[in-house]
Amino acid sequence: MSPAIGELAVGDVVAESVFALSRDSLVRYAGASGDFNPIHYRDDVAISVGLPGVLAHGMLTMGIAVQPVVDWLGDPGRVVDYQVRFTRPVLVPAEGTVDVRVVAKVGQLDAEADAARIDLTVTVSGETVLGKAQVRVGLA
Protein backbone atom coordinates (compact mmCIF):
# COMPACT_ATOMS: atom_id res chain seq x y z
CA MET A 1 0.00 0.00 0.00
CA SER A 2 1.36 3.38 -0.96
CA PRO A 3 0.82 6.43 1.21
CA ALA A 4 -2.18 8.63 0.36
CA ILE A 5 -1.61 12.32 -0.30
CA GLY A 6 -4.55 13.28 1.93
CA GLU A 7 -2.76 11.87 4.95
CA LEU A 8 0.38 13.94 4.42
CA ALA A 9 1.33 17.43 5.54
CA VAL A 10 4.34 19.56 4.63
CA GLY A 11 7.06 18.97 7.21
CA ASP A 12 6.02 15.40 8.08
CA VAL A 13 8.94 13.03 8.49
CA VAL A 14 8.03 10.06 6.31
CA ALA A 15 11.19 8.00 6.65
CA GLU A 16 14.44 7.94 8.56
CA SER A 17 17.38 5.58 8.31
CA VAL A 18 21.09 5.13 9.04
CA PHE A 19 23.45 3.35 6.65
CA ALA A 20 26.87 2.12 7.76
CA LEU A 21 29.39 2.48 4.93
CA SER A 22 32.67 0.59 4.95
CA ARG A 23 35.47 0.22 2.42
CA ASP A 24 33.73 -2.99 1.34
CA SER A 25 30.66 -0.90 0.43
CA LEU A 26 32.84 1.32 -1.79
CA VAL A 27 34.47 -1.61 -3.57
CA ARG A 28 31.07 -3.21 -4.13
CA TYR A 29 29.72 0.06 -5.55
CA ALA A 30 32.80 0.52 -7.76
CA GLY A 31 32.16 -2.89 -9.31
CA ALA A 32 28.42 -2.40 -9.69
CA SER A 33 28.65 1.08 -11.18
CA GLY A 34 31.88 0.78 -13.16
CA ASP A 35 33.39 3.82 -11.40
CA PHE A 36 36.88 2.58 -10.54
CA ASN A 37 38.41 5.93 -9.65
CA PRO A 38 41.07 4.86 -7.09
CA ILE A 39 40.27 7.80 -4.75
CA HIS A 40 37.38 5.55 -3.67
CA TYR A 41 39.55 2.68 -2.44
CA ARG A 42 43.24 3.70 -2.20
CA ASP A 43 44.45 6.01 0.56
CA ASP A 44 47.76 6.74 -1.17
CA VAL A 45 46.05 7.92 -4.35
CA ALA A 46 43.45 9.96 -2.42
CA ILE A 47 46.19 11.69 -0.43
CA SER A 48 48.34 12.31 -3.52
CA VAL A 49 45.53 14.41 -5.07
CA GLY A 50 45.10 16.44 -1.90
CA LEU A 51 42.17 14.65 -0.30
CA PRO A 52 42.13 13.81 3.41
CA GLY A 53 41.52 10.14 2.61
CA VAL A 54 39.33 7.69 0.72
CA LEU A 55 35.89 9.10 -0.14
CA ALA A 56 32.60 7.42 -0.89
CA HIS A 57 31.41 7.84 -4.48
CA GLY A 58 28.97 10.77 -4.50
CA MET A 59 26.69 8.57 -6.55
CA LEU A 60 26.77 5.90 -3.83
CA THR A 61 25.59 8.47 -1.26
CA MET A 62 22.90 9.60 -3.71
CA GLY A 63 21.93 5.97 -4.37
CA ILE A 64 21.45 5.04 -0.72
CA ALA A 65 19.84 8.33 0.34
CA VAL A 66 16.68 7.63 -1.68
CA GLN A 67 16.16 4.12 -0.27
CA PRO A 68 14.18 5.13 2.84
CA VAL A 69 11.77 6.95 0.51
CA VAL A 70 11.44 3.88 -1.73
CA ASP A 71 10.73 1.72 1.32
CA TRP A 72 8.10 4.18 2.50
CA LEU A 73 6.49 4.25 -0.97
CA GLY A 74 6.66 0.47 -1.32
CA ASP A 75 7.32 0.88 -5.05
CA PRO A 76 10.51 2.29 -6.64
CA GLY A 77 8.52 3.10 -9.79
CA ARG A 78 6.88 6.00 -7.93
CA VAL A 79 10.14 7.96 -7.92
CA VAL A 80 9.74 10.22 -10.95
CA ASP A 81 12.52 12.73 -10.36
CA TYR A 82 15.51 12.71 -8.06
CA GLN A 83 18.20 15.35 -7.71
CA VAL A 84 21.06 16.16 -5.35
CA ARG A 85 24.00 18.52 -5.03
CA PHE A 86 27.24 17.08 -3.73
CA THR A 87 28.28 19.51 -1.02
CA ARG A 88 30.68 17.64 1.25
CA PRO A 89 32.73 14.47 0.73
CA VAL A 90 32.03 11.40 2.88
CA LEU A 91 35.29 10.04 4.28
CA VAL A 92 35.31 6.29 4.78
CA PRO A 93 37.89 4.84 7.18
CA ALA A 94 40.02 1.80 6.28
CA GLU A 95 38.64 0.00 9.30
CA GLY A 96 35.16 0.19 10.71
CA THR A 97 32.29 2.17 9.20
CA VAL A 98 30.91 5.67 8.85
CA ASP A 99 27.21 6.32 9.48
CA VAL A 100 25.22 8.15 6.82
CA ARG A 101 21.94 9.38 8.28
CA VAL A 102 18.94 10.14 6.10
CA VAL A 103 15.79 11.99 7.17
CA ALA A 104 13.03 12.32 4.56
CA LYS A 105 10.39 15.04 4.99
CA VAL A 106 7.48 16.22 2.92
CA GLY A 107 8.67 19.41 1.20
CA GLN A 108 5.68 20.17 -0.99
CA LEU A 109 2.35 18.60 -1.90
CA ASP A 110 0.81 18.76 -5.35
CA ALA A 111 -2.76 17.56 -4.93
CA GLU A 112 -3.66 18.19 -8.57
CA ALA A 113 -0.95 15.84 -9.84
CA ASP A 114 -1.26 13.51 -6.80
CA ALA A 115 2.46 13.97 -6.27
CA ALA A 116 4.77 15.16 -3.52
CA ARG A 117 8.26 16.55 -3.19
CA ILE A 118 10.20 14.76 -0.49
CA ASP A 119 13.25 16.60 0.84
CA LEU A 120 16.17 14.57 2.14
CA THR A 121 18.54 15.67 4.87
CA VAL A 122 21.66 13.55 4.57
CA THR A 123 24.30 13.94 7.26
CA VAL A 124 27.52 12.41 8.51
CA SER A 125 28.48 13.29 12.10
CA GLY A 126 25.86 16.04 12.04
CA GLU A 127 27.19 17.71 8.89
CA THR A 128 25.15 17.83 5.70
CA VAL A 129 26.77 15.98 2.78
CA LEU A 130 24.09 16.47 0.11
CA GLY A 131 22.34 19.73 -0.72
CA LYS A 132 19.00 20.29 -2.44
CA ALA A 133 18.31 16.56 -2.23
CA GLN A 134 14.76 16.31 -3.55
CA VAL A 135 12.66 13.38 -4.69
CA ARG A 136 9.46 13.89 -6.62
CA VAL A 137 7.12 10.97 -6.04
CA GLY A 138 3.83 9.98 -7.61
CA LEU A 139 1.13 8.94 -5.15
CA ALA A 140 -1.73 8.11 -7.53
Partner: protein, 138 residues
Protein backbone atom coordinates in the same frame (compact mmCIF):
# COMPACT_ATOMS: atom_id res chain seq x y z
CA UNK B 1 25.17 17.00 -29.37
CA UNK B 2 27.22 13.80 -29.55
CA UNK B 3 26.36 10.64 -31.52
CA UNK B 4 24.25 8.12 -29.56
CA UNK B 5 26.17 5.53 -27.56
CA UNK B 6 25.73 1.86 -28.61
CA UNK B 7 22.57 0.43 -26.98
CA UNK B 8 22.84 -0.79 -23.38
CA UNK B 9 20.95 -4.00 -22.56
CA UNK B 10 19.77 -3.94 -18.94
CA UNK B 11 20.51 -7.35 -17.42
CA UNK B 12 18.67 -8.85 -14.45
CA UNK B 13 21.86 -9.75 -12.61
CA UNK B 14 23.28 -6.25 -13.18
CA UNK B 15 20.15 -4.75 -11.64
CA UNK B 16 20.49 -7.09 -8.65
CA UNK B 17 24.19 -6.26 -8.27
CA UNK B 18 23.52 -2.52 -8.45
CA UNK B 19 20.57 -2.75 -6.04
CA UNK B 20 22.73 -4.56 -3.49
CA UNK B 21 25.47 -1.93 -3.86
CA UNK B 22 23.06 0.95 -3.06
CA UNK B 23 21.34 -0.88 -0.18
CA UNK B 24 18.10 -1.13 -2.17
CA UNK B 25 16.17 -3.79 -0.27
CA UNK B 26 12.77 -3.74 -1.99
CA UNK B 27 12.22 -7.22 -3.52
CA UNK B 28 11.08 -5.74 -6.87
CA UNK B 29 14.78 -4.93 -7.47
CA UNK B 30 15.89 -8.54 -7.08
CA UNK B 31 12.98 -10.97 -7.32
CA UNK B 32 11.33 -11.27 -10.76
CA UNK B 33 8.15 -12.77 -9.28
CA UNK B 34 7.81 -9.87 -6.81
CA UNK B 35 8.40 -7.47 -9.72
CA UNK B 36 5.71 -9.16 -11.82
CA UNK B 37 3.29 -9.14 -8.89
CA UNK B 38 3.86 -5.36 -8.69
CA UNK B 39 3.05 -5.00 -12.39
CA UNK B 40 6.55 -4.89 -13.90
CA UNK B 41 7.87 -7.10 -16.70
CA UNK B 42 11.04 -7.91 -14.75
CA UNK B 43 13.19 -6.59 -11.89
CA UNK B 44 13.17 -2.77 -11.55
CA UNK B 45 16.44 -0.81 -11.56
CA UNK B 46 17.12 1.54 -8.60
CA UNK B 47 16.56 5.26 -9.24
CA UNK B 48 20.26 6.04 -9.74
CA UNK B 49 20.98 3.09 -12.08
CA UNK B 50 21.08 5.31 -15.22
CA UNK B 51 24.46 6.56 -13.96
CA UNK B 52 25.91 3.39 -15.50
CA UNK B 53 24.62 4.45 -18.92
CA UNK B 54 25.36 8.13 -18.37
CA UNK B 55 28.98 7.24 -17.62
CA UNK B 56 29.41 5.83 -21.12
CA UNK B 57 27.92 8.95 -22.64
CA UNK B 58 30.06 11.28 -20.52
CA UNK B 59 33.20 9.43 -21.58
CA UNK B 60 32.64 10.88 -25.05
CA UNK B 61 32.72 14.39 -23.64
CA UNK B 62 35.76 13.81 -21.45
CA UNK B 63 37.62 12.03 -24.27
CA UNK B 64 36.85 14.78 -26.80
CA UNK B 65 40.03 16.88 -27.14
CA UNK B 66 37.85 19.85 -28.20
CA UNK B 67 36.08 19.86 -24.83
CA UNK B 68 39.42 20.75 -23.22
CA UNK B 69 38.35 19.05 -19.98
CA UNK B 70 41.12 17.67 -17.79
CA UNK B 71 39.56 14.60 -16.16
CA UNK B 72 41.79 14.83 -13.07
CA UNK B 73 40.28 18.26 -12.30
CA UNK B 74 36.66 17.19 -12.61
CA UNK B 75 34.41 17.10 -9.55
CA UNK B 76 30.79 15.96 -9.66
CA UNK B 77 28.67 18.99 -8.73
CA UNK B 78 25.08 17.88 -9.03
CA UNK B 79 23.08 15.06 -10.48
CA UNK B 80 19.47 14.63 -11.47
CA UNK B 81 17.33 11.87 -12.99
CA UNK B 82 13.97 12.73 -14.56
CA UNK B 83 11.89 9.69 -15.39
CA UNK B 84 9.10 8.99 -17.84
CA UNK B 85 8.96 5.38 -16.64
CA UNK B 86 11.08 3.06 -14.48
CA UNK B 87 13.87 0.96 -16.04
CA UNK B 88 13.34 -2.81 -15.96
CA UNK B 89 15.62 -5.71 -16.87
CA UNK B 90 15.34 -6.45 -20.58
CA UNK B 91 15.22 -2.78 -21.60
CA UNK B 92 17.54 -1.85 -24.43
CA UNK B 93 18.50 1.75 -23.76
CA UNK B 94 20.26 4.30 -25.91
CA UNK B 95 21.77 7.49 -24.52
CA UNK B 96 22.41 10.68 -26.44
CA UNK B 97 24.58 13.27 -24.75
CA UNK B 98 24.29 17.00 -25.18
CA UNK B 99 26.02 19.83 -23.38
CA UNK B 100 23.26 22.03 -21.98
CA UNK B 101 25.39 24.81 -20.56
CA UNK B 102 28.92 25.89 -19.75
CA UNK B 103 29.43 28.55 -17.08
CA UNK B 104 32.52 30.11 -15.58
CA UNK B 105 32.64 30.87 -11.90
CA UNK B 106 35.73 32.27 -10.24
CA UNK B 107 38.28 30.35 -12.30
CA UNK B 108 36.25 27.15 -12.33
CA UNK B 109 33.98 26.06 -15.12
CA UNK B 110 30.70 24.25 -14.72
CA UNK B 111 29.58 21.97 -17.51
CA UNK B 112 26.02 20.68 -17.48
CA UNK B 113 25.60 17.58 -19.63
CA UNK B 114 22.29 15.88 -20.35
CA UNK B 115 22.00 12.24 -21.36
CA UNK B 116 18.59 11.57 -22.88
CA UNK B 117 17.90 7.84 -22.58
CA UNK B 118 15.30 6.15 -24.78
CA UNK B 119 14.15 2.54 -25.14
CA UNK B 120 14.26 0.27 -28.21
CA UNK B 121 11.06 1.82 -29.57
CA UNK B 122 12.50 5.32 -29.20
CA UNK B 123 10.27 6.27 -26.25
CA UNK B 124 11.82 8.46 -23.56
CA UNK B 125 12.69 6.60 -20.35
CA UNK B 126 14.87 8.95 -18.31
CA UNK B 127 17.11 11.96 -18.68
CA UNK B 128 20.25 12.01 -16.57
CA UNK B 129 21.59 15.52 -15.95
CA UNK B 130 25.04 15.96 -14.54
CA UNK B 131 26.91 19.11 -13.62
CA UNK B 132 30.67 18.70 -13.62
CA UNK B 133 32.86 21.28 -11.97
CA UNK B 134 36.22 21.62 -13.65
CA UNK B 135 38.61 23.19 -11.17
CA UNK B 136 40.81 25.94 -12.61
CA UNK B 137 44.62 25.82 -12.59
CA UNK B 138 45.97 26.80 -9.18
Amino acid sequence: MFPSVAPYLVGREKVREFARAVFAANPVHSDPSAARAAGYADVVAPATFPVVIQEQALEQLLADPQSGIDFSRVVHGDQRFSYSRPIVAGDELTATLSVASVKSLGGHSMVTAESAIVDASGEHVVTAISTLVVRGEE
